[in-house]
Symmetry: C2
Subunit: 247 residues, 2 copies
Amino acid sequence: MKITIFPLRNFPLINPGDSLTEIIVEELRKIDLQNRDIIVIAHTILSKSENKVYDLNLITPSPFALQIGRMQGKDPRKIEVILRESSEIIRMNEKVLITATHHGFICANSGIDKSNTPGDTVISLPDDPDFSARQIRDEIKEKLHKNVAVIISDTFGRPLRVGTVNFAIGLAGINSLEDIRGKTDLFGYELRSTIIARVDEVAAAAGIVMGQADEGTPVIIVRGVDYSINDNSARELIREPENDVFR
Amino acid sequence: MKITIFPLRNFPLINPGDSLTEIIVEELRKIDLQNRDIIVIAHTILSKSENKVYDLNLITPSPFALQIGRMQGKDPRKIEVILRESSEIIRMNEKVLITATHHGFICANSGIDKSNTPGDTVISLPDDPDFSARQIRDEIKEKLHKNVAVIISDTFGRPLRVGTVNFAIGLAGINSLEDIRGKTDLFGYELRSTIIARVDEVAAAAGIVMGQADEGTPVIIVRGVDYSINDNSARELIREPENDVFR
């Protein structure tokens, strides 16, 4: 297996209300797209196209948001947005605010992002990244006649390990998990507890090229991955609280 | 940036006592190795070359190991090895045993692996993956006159998310973390809290090709990554307990 990873170059800036699906299809026309390519898309451009942008000047923080803002030395209006985008506070102290989002993802600040948005605004996660991934995948199939997989990604901080890594928050046309239990290893032993988060490995690989600062490359092609096709969801990547000894 | 990822094909089986460094150098002679290539190595072959193999028939489980074995329905001799390879039990219940290893890595079963070893044996993590990575890197420089980076990897389960992902446990010639604080985003905003675990993204990318069952491809070349060279350590990827709200 040989994998190649490359960005869609000169991808246009996305503005609120733009049809991301149309723009991606048009940009993909410029490359030699192939069946089984995986298209990894930074969630920020999806959020922008969905107008998931909060103007902080229009936000009135609640007393609770003001309290957290004082404790953490942060803009209480941003805290207010984080709380609005959350369904549960998982951990909180003077430095961090880690929440579960409405989708169930557990991330710092509900995935709210200050960077790469104009003016005094923040962007939140997309409404339904799985749905959008499927929409983009279907449109590529219809317009470009290629069967691809689509992954919507976000960078996550992690318990136990330092540094952020790009992971999947939405997907279409690729298995969320690859269950190799029952396969045998080099010596014929049965592997017993290995479920691989292949889509997270693919998102992480795309993250190397995606960059996070001023690279302007939010759409990455990952070619050559041997993956199973299944219409499941990134929600399967979320560990159920009762199975999570760290929650 | 275009990245390519490919395995060293037909890599020989490693036996206890083999010089992994020599074997890797010989195998790398067969490809067109380039400066700045990153060599990602599955820790299992390093462990084997270091003879980090426990014959379970020679292990007498302690009363505590017997107790955990009964609770989890697992071989108490394997539990004994897990405990010997640990410095601290982080979480434990009827299903999981998560420990800190002597290196400080927090992983299921101290990273003890049943698979891909012959007979009634298990293998543990290598003694000092950073040291071995540096040794391999230096030997490649001396023998093949190429400046490469080396990453020793293992698959980790993760809090909050389902499925394993390949991450770095040892490294040489590449920054463990890429600190992009101070860089500006597309709109000139300063990114404030983004430290990227680039080596984990690279290890995850290699994991896609490495496989875990009977692929027999424990050495992967990742080419084209734009990384900073620095002689630091995978230990910097371990979150200090006092900074970890999930520990």
